[in-house]
């Protein structure tokens, strides 16, 4: 079982809830997930594995689609190539950020510009751009404009991306 990516996902979800409401507690998040806060605390700190039988239920409560849930439930260690691609594409929000930036009016075809807006390194952006290109989720046909797969939401994007992983993998 390779639960690191799912742990990261839980952490990000908790952080985003905290960002929206500073009083949102770990206890509240645990209640939302249907577990006790001691277990959740240990999971988030990496002191305890994500309880295997709980992953599916937690994915559902977090509103993940069936494709994404299947990836987290099936993650193995070490991940094979296809699994690594799937975990990266759903586990790293930068992919969706790039898609959104490409479709924004102020877009600049510049990894450094994207990195500054996404809050990560240029190398990290370039890794994600390479992955998006490989999966056909991004196309560069013009030096100044990058076109992307159409997706109305991050969830829709992830489902499309996972389908591409399965066909391109």
């Amino acid at each position: 079982m390779h639960d690191g990516p799912f742990r990261q996902r839980l952490k990000r979800e908790f952080e985003s809830r905290r960002a929206a409401n500073a009083r949102y507690s770990l206890r509240a998040f645990a209640r939302f997930l249907g577990t006790d806060h001691a277990t959740l605390s240990q999971v988030l700190r990496g002191k305890r594995n994500v309880p295997r039988l709980r992953i599916r239920g937690w994915c559902e409560r977090l509103g993940m689609g069936p494709e994404e849930t299947a990836v987290y439930c099936g993650a193995t260690h070490p991940p094979d190539h296809r699994m690594a691609e799937a975990l990266n594409i759903i586990g790293e929000p930068v992919h969706w950020q790039i898609i959104q930036l490409c479709n924004s009016a102020e877009f600049r075809a510049d990894s450094r510009w994207i990195a500054a807006r996404a809050g990560c390194s240029t190398d990290f952006v370039n890794l994600a751009v390479t992955r998006l290109l490989r999966l056909g989720l991004l196309e560069m046909r013009d030096p100044a404009r990058w076109s992307t797969v159409s997706a109305a939401s991050e969830r829709e994007f992830r489902a499309t991306a996972l389908a591409r992983v399965n066909t391109h993998g």
């Binding site: 070490p78 991940p79 190539h81 690594a84 990266n88 600049r108 075809a109 510049d110 990894s111 450094r112 510009w113 990195a115 240029t122 190398d123 990290f124 370039n126 890794l127 390479t130 992955r131 290109l133 490989r134 056909g136 196309e139 560069m140 046909r141 013009d142 030096p143 100044a144």
Partner: protein, 119 residues
């Protein structure tokens, strides 16, 4: 047009450390002041080819890729496909006008095709 090998690309999980190592060892200069932040290597010689460094994904091993110059990237990619290659990254126009594609030859080795920016 002939199709020379025109570039080498080092894919490294530690691009900065790789750049520092080869710069120290061979006196190469590395310049990343371009829109992709691509670490362009200048070997300081007109002999041989120049190259660059690109980040490798965490799940991959470090490796070197060769880029071969072509007149028409789309046509060369299609030709390679007919000969049994697989296109990994479709013809892509980079921010400074160069065009490239990355393919897997029928025996599993990745390589790139490349056209410099139109004058």
């Amino acid at each position: 047009m002939a199709n020379p090998v025109s570039q080498f690309q080092i894919l490294s999980k530690e691009p900065d450390a790789t750049a520092a190592f080869y710069s120290e060892l061979f006196g190469w200069t590395v310049d990343a002041a371009n829109p992709l932040g691509y670490r362009r290597i200048d070997t300081g010689s007109r002999d041989g080819i120049q190259g660059g460094i690109w980040p490798a994904p965490p799940e991959a091993a470090n490796f070197v890729q060769l880029f071969i110059s072509v007149d028409d990237v789309e046509a060369a990619a299609q030709h390679a496909e007919r000969l049994g290659a697989k296109i990994l990254i479709r013809p892509t126009v980079l921010p400074q006008g160069e065009e490239m594609a990355v393919l897997l030859d029928p025996h599993g080795m990745p390589f790139g095709i490349w056209r410099s920016s139109r004058k």
